[in-house]
C-alpha cells in the first residue's frame, strides 16, 4: 500500500432545498457583503432568480456578477476581483459548473490578499493561510471542483491552462441540490458525467498516490455513474438519477484531490485550451484510448477496478472498456476528436499538443510513464 495522507476540508451538505439551507445559515451569520457568482445561462434559471430574491429579502448587501465565462479566464477573474475588493466582500457564494466554481476560487485568492494580480499566486501549495469563506453550489455533475483543491484557469494569450493548487483553495461548504440539475441539457449532462467517470477511473489507477480510502470513493462513484448517467440524460427531471450522479461526482472529486488524475486529463487540458472543447466531452474522447494505452503495462489496476465495480470476480479491463463504450453510445457523446470539432492536426500542431500534455501536472499521477511519441500516438488514435 502507498504511504498516504487523506484530507477533505470541505463540508458537504446534501439537500433538496439549497435556498432554505443557505438563507437559514446566513440568518445566523453577520455578513455585511457577499459576492454572488454565476454565469449568464444560469442567471436566467428560475431557481437562481428565487435564490437572488431570497437574499434581497434578507437585506444582505450582495454584489452579483453573472457573466462568468466558460473556463476560468484570467481577465474575468481580475475584473471580478476588482469589484469584490472595492465592495469589501466577506463571503463568496458560487452557483454553477466548474467554470464558475474555479473562477470563484481564484477570485477568493485575490479578494483575501487584496491583490488583483492572480498570476502571482500561480503554483502548488503556495498559499500560506486560509482564504475568505467560499460556499459553492454545483449545477453540473461534474467536475468535483466543489471539493477539489485545484483551480484550472485559461490564459487567453497563450492558449494554455494555468494551474493553482492548495488546501486553502477548497471551498468551506459545498451544497448539493439535485433540483438545480434538471435544467442541464443532455449534452452537458453527458459530458460533465464523463468528466466524473474519468475522475473516478484516473483517481483509482493513480497508483503512486491512491489509497484504500480513495479507492472506495472511486468504486462507489463509478457504480452510481454507470447506473444513473443514462437516465439523467434521457429523463432530465429524474431526481433519483440527478442526485446519484451529483453525489458520485463529489465523491470522485474528493478522490482525485487525494490521489490525482492521469493522462486522459493531461490530453484533455491540452486540447481544451487549444480548441475550446468542453472539458468533460474531451475527457470522454480520450478515456478509452488512454485506458488502452495504460493497460499495455498496468492492466492490473483496471482489472481490480472492474472486479469491484461490476461485483464480478471474473471481470477485467475489457469489461470496463466495453461499459464505457456502451455508455458513450447511450449518452450520444462524440467518440473522436474529429466529431468533437477539432480540425485536422498538422505535424507541428500535433507536436505542440503532445508537448503541452507531457508537462501537464495531471500526467505525473498516471500509472505508466509516457513520452512524446506515446502522447502523439494517443492523440492520433483519438482523432478518428
Amino acid at each position: 500500500m502507498n504511504q498516504f495522507v487523506f484530507s477533505n476540508s470541505t463540508n458537504v451538505v446534501f439537500t433538496y432545498d439549497f435556498i432554505e439551507y443557505i438563507i437559514d445559515k446566513l440568518d445566523d451569520l453577520n455578513v455585511n457583503n457577499l459576492l454572488l457568482l454565476t454565469d449568464e445561462g444560469l442567471s436566467q434559471q428560475q431557481l437562481f432568480k428565487d435564490f437572488y430574491q431570497s437574499l434581497q429579502n434578507l437585506k444582505i448587501p450582495t454584489t452579483l456578477y453573472d457573466k462568468v465565462k466558460s473556463d476560468a479566464q484570467i481577465a474575468v477573474v481580475e475584473e471580478i476581483s476588482r469589484l469584490a475588493i472595492a465592495n469589501d466582500c466577506q463571503l463568496i457564494i458560487a452557483i454553477g459548473g466548474g467554470s464558475v466554481i474555479d473562477t470563484a476560487k481564484l477570485v477568493n485568492i485575490s479578494l483575501t490578499h487584496k491583490d488583483t494580480s492572480i498570476m502571482n499566486y500561480q503554483g502548488i501549495n503556495l498559499l500560506e493561510s486560509a482564504l475568505k469563506p467560499l460556499w459553492v453550489i454545483p449545477t453540473t455533475a461534474g467536475t468535483g471542483s466543489e471539493v477539489s483543491l485545484v483551480a484550472v484557469a485559461k490564459d487567453e494569450s497563450s492558449n494554455k491552462k494555468i494551474f493553482f493548487g492548495s488546501h486553502y483553495l477548497s471551498s468551506e461548504l459545498a451544497i448539493l441540490d439535485p433540483n438545480l440539475l434538471v435544467t442541464l441539457p443532455k449534452f452537458l449532462t453527458a459530458a460533465t458525467g464523463l468528466d466524473a467517470v474519468t475522475h473516478a477511473i484516473e483517481a483509482y489507477t493513480a497508483s503512486n498516490c491512491n489509497s484504500p480510502i480513495t479507492d472506495a470513493l472511486c468504486i462507489e462513484s463509478l457504480k452510481k455513474l454507470f447506473a444513473y448517467l443514462p437516465t439523467a440524460c434521457q429523463d432530465p427531471s429524474n431526481i433519483e438519477a440527478r442526485e446519484n450522479t451529483l453525489v458520485a461526482s463529489t465523491m470522485a472529486g474528493i478522490a482525485f484531490s487525494n490521489s490525482g488524475v492521469g493522462v486522459v486529463h493531461a490530453l484533455a487540458h491540452s486540447i481544451g485550451a487549444m480548441f475550446n472543447t468542453h472539458h468533460g466531452a474531451t475527457n470522454a474522447v480520450f478515456l478509452i484510448p488512454g485506458i488502452k494505452f495504460n493497460c499495455q503495462e498496468a492492466s492490473r489496476f483496471y482489472d481490480t477496478l472492474s472486479v469491484n465495480v461490476f461485483n464480478d470476480k471474473k471481470a477485467n479491463h475489457v469489461d470496463l472498456i466495453t461499459t464505457i463504450d456502451n455508455l458513450l453510445n447511450t449518452v450520444q457523446l462524440p467518440k473522436s476528436l474529429k466529431s468533437l470539432g477539432v480540425p485536422e492536426l498538422s505535424k507541428a500542431l500535433l507536436d505542440e499538443l503532445a508537448t503541452t500534455a507531457l508537462v501537464d501536472p495531471s500526467i505525473m499521477f498516471n500509472p505508466v510513464e509516457l513520452n512524446l511519441d506515446d502522447l502523439k500516438q494517443i492523440i492520433l488514435t483519438a482523432y478518428n
Binding site: N2, Q3, F4, V5, Q122, G123, I124, N125, L126, K160, I162, F163, G165, H167, A206, N208, C209, N258, S259, G260, T356, L358, V359, D360, P361, I363, M364, F365
Partner: protein, 136 residues
C-alpha cells in the same frame, strides 16, 4: 536532524552537483534550450540556489541572495532535496502532501524533472566525497 550540518555544506553539495549537470550536454543542452530560471529555497539549513539558463548559451549557478527574477521557485526542506537527488522522492505525493511548494508555472517545473534525472547517478558520489554522513 538534517543531513546537512549547515548552509555552507548544502551550498557546496548543490554547487558541485549543478556543475556536473552543466558539464553534461545530455542535461545542460535541454536546460539551456528551455531558458529556464529556477530558484530553490531550502530550509533546515536555510539557503537559496538559482540556476539561470536564460541566455541560452551558458548557465549560471548562483548560491545565496541574488537579483535574478526566477520563472519558477521551489521550496522544500533540504532533506527532501537530498532524498530527491537520491531518486527517493515520490514527487506527486510530495506535492499532494505539501512537502514541496512550487511557485510559477508548474508545467515548467515538471519539465525539469526528466531532464535532471541522470544526475541521480552523480549525487551519491558527491555526498561520499564530501564525507557527509547520511542516516539510513
Amino acid at each position: 536532524m538534517s543531513i546537512f550540518k549547515d548552509s555552507q555544506e548544502l551550498d557546496t553539495v548543490m554547487e558541485q552537483l549543478w556543475t556536473k549537470i552543466r558539464q553534461d550536454p545530455e542535461m545542460s543542452k535541454p536546460l539551456l534550450e528551455s531558458k529556464l530560471i529556477v530558484t530553490f529555497h531550502y530550509r533546515h539549513p536555510e539557503t537559496k540556489l538559482t540556476i539561470d539558463c536564460s541566455n541560452g548559451e551558458d548557465f549560471h549557478i548562483i548560491t545565496g541572495e541574488n537579483q535574478v527574477k526566477p520563472i519558477i521557485e521551489l521550496f522544500m526542506k533540504a532533506d527532501i532535496a537530498h532524498d530527491f537527488w537520491l531518486g527517493k522522492v515520490n514527487v506527486p505525493m510530495a506535492l499532494l502532501s505539501g512537502k514541496i511548494v512550487s511557485k510559477g508555472p508548474i508545467n515548467k517545473a515538471l519539465a525539469l524533472l526528466p531532464t535532471v534525472k541522470p544526475a541521480f547517478k552523480l549525487y551519491p558520489s558527491i555526498i561520499k566525497d564530501l564525507n557527509i554522513k547520511t542516516h539510513p
